[in-house]
Amino acid sequence: MIQNIIRRFIPIIALALISVPAFALSDAYKNNIYNPGELKPVDSTLKVKVGEPVPDFTLPAISGEKISLSQFKGKKNVVLSFVPAAWTPVCSDQWPGYNLARSFFEENDAILLGITVDSIPTLYAWTNQMGKLWFPVLSDFWPHGEVAGIYGILRPEGVTERALFVIDKEGILRYANVADINKRPELGALVKEMKKLK
């Protein structure tokens, strides 16, 4: 009986130990980052499939222009980086890394589009802390999370998953990574997928 109880408790202990969220926060954001704590890793059902065309969309960018996915068709591979929310720990790290990693995108003839469901003013203030970003940042704020919903990555709480999509010049989805929302996807894995586009 005791052995059974202990056996039951071990997975709980293990879960408690591994579920402590881990992130390294840049001092660039000072004390302005809101920590939502540990969230359910994935809480939506993907509606796009690798090997199939992805739905087109048009969204406003913080630069003031409107950007459509279809404008890159035949010209550039496209990487979509959806991050859940501005001013949160892991998201605030991810794009500054892609900013530094510009050469990997260019070497693979790819453009990066960063997308969240935050409003343009929020995205403007937040991304200003990251330095000058070389890629467009788009707002899927209104209708709220419409594009994320179409792609199947809108979570019940109204933010998106932490998702990466690699789309080739023909508009075909070549890679989809709906990551654990609590963790930043590793750069090497994305680079590997971009290299496959050649």
Binding site: I2, I5, F9, D27, A28, G97, Q129, G131, V191
Partner: protein, 190 residues
């Protein structure tokens, strides 16, 4: 049997109560000891020579052959670390070009939450000459109190093998001359 069950529940309760501290260490205090940080011995001979290490699997920071080890806690993803990288390189050059400091102050970087690929990319992007290590699973970062980045820790290593943290602060290098003066002063180097 009941006694054993009670013991288990008490032990389990203690474990659960102690869990919050699992992710809540504090940054190493100045005047204190550096938590045990085990790093892989670099494969490159140049790095091993710089750190005064023999070939092997792992080493602890106080085993580095130096009077002071300066540790930069950084992340490839951190905008301030990116901006500060050329300044840290400048600091490293000043140390290496000074005959009195070259063998006495050694610099290492630890990329928290960064994979080997990410650390290597950061190193190549900024042409960083000193050894850098990855802490992909945040295990070192946790031990160091989950500090924001960049964060610098200077460890004074005594002849008898003991050591003391003499500098532990959030932020970049700033003025390399002033920073170096501070480190030398705290470590009692001339």
């Amino acid at each position: 049997m009941k006694k054993a069950l009670t013991s288990f529940i008490v032990a389990f309760s203690f474990l659960i109560l102690s869990l919050p501290s699992f992710g809540q260490n504090t940054p190493p205090p100045e005047g204190g000891i550096l938590p045990k940080i085990s790093l892989p011995v670099p494969g490159a001979e140049g790095y091993r020579k710089y750190l005064g290490l023999k070939a092997g699997s792992s080493f602890l920071v106080p085993q580095i052959k130096a009077k002071v080890v300066l540790i930069e806690i950084f992340s490839m993803y951190c905008p301030h670390c990116q901006k500060d990288a050329p300044v840290v390189n400048d600091l490293y050059s000043r140390i290496m070009n000074d005959g009195d400091l070259r063998d006495n102050i050694k610099l290492i970087g630890i990329g928290v939450g960064n994979s080997d690929f990410e650390v290597d990319f950061f190193r190549k992007t900024y042409d960083i000459k000193f050894p850098m290590f990855s802490d992909a699973e945040f295990s070192i970062h946790k031990v160091l109190g989950e500090v924001r980045t960049p964060y610098f820790i200077a460890v004074k290593i005594n002849l008898n093998g003991t050591h003391k943290v003499v500098y532990s602060k959030l932020g970049g290098v700033g003025d390399p001359d002033e920073f170096l003066k501070k480190i030398k002063n705290f470590a009692g180097l001339k």
